[in-house]
């Protein structure tokens, strides 16, 4: 079984689910509202490892031991309505966050993206962190300044940026080692994959700019890219990944 976990309004995740079904991948779609309304939770962690069984209100049971891969785009969760208006609300939220992190961590690979304490669907990073990683991956980056005395970050060298505006913006999606979306050079694709590795994000959206001199400049990264922009090739890639995993 494959899982698609996502927020209720995540049209990209729904698109992947439909595409995988068309490709005969056994997949379950579990939006956050359904997961958070589960009627029974069993999560065991011990010397033999960890697993989770979640019994959903619609009768389905998600058992991590039967899962072969997950598209994980969970952003948030809600506590039981019992707690919504009580002083225990914040405590219940923290407890559920801790539970979700643990149970997502025990799902067998591949999980795109693996959870992190900095985000249930991957490590959310500050912009300066992304810029440093992007440079290490081989991308050019615009100078960047963030100050506690200002409301908004700015480019330090505004003049330089204004004199060399990008000729084009494009967005690509890196998924499990392959680049989808806008056509990019092999060098840019390699840099995008390196950035995905450095960030520990198997699924990563990148906004790039092509400068007047033809260089690719990193602009922003997104752990929740619109996957539809990657087209059917992404679905074929994911389906292949899942079927390969199911055979191993």
């Amino acid at each position: 079984m494959w899982l698609v976990l996502c927020d209720d309004s995540d049209a990209s995740a729904r698109w992947v689910y439909d595409g995988l079904r068309e490709r005969s991948v056994p997949v379950e779609f579990v939006p956050a509202s359904v997961l958070s309304a589960a009627v029974r939770w069993i999560h065991r962690v011990g010397s033999d490892g960890a697993f989770v069984e979640v019994f959903l209100a619609d009768g389905r049971c998600i058992d991590s031991r039967d899962v072969h891969g997950t598209l994980n785009r969970i952003v948030s969760m809600w506590p039981s309505p019992e707690y919504l208006a009580t002083p225990d609300r914040d405590y219940a939220l923290q407890e559920l966050l801790a539970l979700y992190l643990s149970l997502l961590h025990c799902l067998p690979p591949p999980v795109l993206n693996r959870p992190s304490p900095q985000g249930l669907s991957g490590h959310m990073r500050y912009t300066p962190d992304w810029l440093v990683l992007a440079s290490r991956a081989g991308f050019a980056t615009a100078p960047y300044v963030v100050s506690s005395s200002e409301d908004e970050p700015r480019c330090r060298n505004d003049e330089q940026t204004l004199h060399r505006p990008p000729s084009a913006h494009h967005e690509v999606v890196v998924a499990a080692g392959r680049v989808f979306g806008s056509s990019v050079t092999p060098q840019v694709a390699a840099a995008a994959c390196r950035l995905s590795d450095l960030a520990g994000a198997d699924l990563l959206g990148l906004r790039l700019a092509t400068t007047a001199d033809g260089a690719a400049r990193f602009e922003a990264a997104d752990l929740y890219p619109d996957l539809r922009s990657a087209g059917p090739d992404l679905l074929d890639h994911l389906a292949g990944l899942l079927k390969t995993k199911a055979r191993t």
Binding site: R40, W41, I42, H43, R44, V45, G46, S47, G49, A50, P79, S80, E82, Y83, D90, Y91, A92, Q94, E95, L96, L97, A98, L99, L101, S102, H105, C106, P115, S116, P117, Q118, H123, R125, Y126, T127, P128, D129, L131, V132, A134, S135, R136, A140, T141, P143, Y144, V145, V146, S147, S148, S149, R156
Partner: protein, 307 residues
Amino acid sequence: MILLCGIPSEPPLAMVRRRLEEGGSECVVLNQREVADADLEICVVAGRVTGRLTMRGQAYALEHIDGVYLRLMDDRFLPEVRKEAADSPVRAHSRRVHETLLAWTEIASARVVNRPSAMGSNASKPYQAQLIRDSGFDIPETLITNDPDLVAEFRQRWGRLIYKSMSGVRSIIRVLDDDAAAKLDAIRWCPVQFQRYVEGTDVRVHTVGTQVFATSISSDAPDYRYAERDTGRAANLAPLDLPDDIAERCTALAADLGLAVSGIDLRRTPGGRYVCFEVNPCPVFSYYETGTGQEISAAIAAFLSGV
């Protein structure tokens, strides 16, 4: 230059500061209580990180800071902030200073104790338990559920159980006695973490880089931190020599979690096994140093100074 961030009178920060000053290191303290007078700017150009910290009219280049010790309290609860309106400029400025500080300490080339992202694993104890198990330590058998019948089965299988929060909030350990077991229906609304009670002697291990300071704790309380309150008798602390393999496992675990300094909670069973409960990424080592004389603050100061 070493930057110390937090409340200057807080024991761990004060002890490290004293050690640094005794060793002749130049220290700068970012006092959270004076956050209104602080500003921080980060510049990233082609992957190189520079910037400036300004406090009380004096500016410090971030690239001249060699070590950072983070002992931050939640800035929302600072006395200077907590009574401010949600949209107050004081609150907004405090938040921006702290956010900018956290962003910088993630990527600073300085030695940071500890980087914010590395401190995250403790926010989910069952998640961290999986990482601890991966490092080769035994961990206690754990059940998280909202099903009272399963808890009863778990109790029947393992005998004495404890329950505690999964997150870092209200992190107090309680024994599941008959009174608590009679209230298990309440867990249906929110899953709760139960663990097999592990018999033995508590051991707190502080790691500082590759150095290990182990403390044995004798107490009758299920959570020795609250021993005096719960049993009327304070816990008794004593230095302990760990077996080499356990000491190495501790430093390897801290390294795997990205922690330059850690407080690892172990229990040595009557059979000599070491079971690991959790890793504290921001340990209040002062309690143990005061109780045993172990020079943990000196080791942290030396680490920050690169000695």
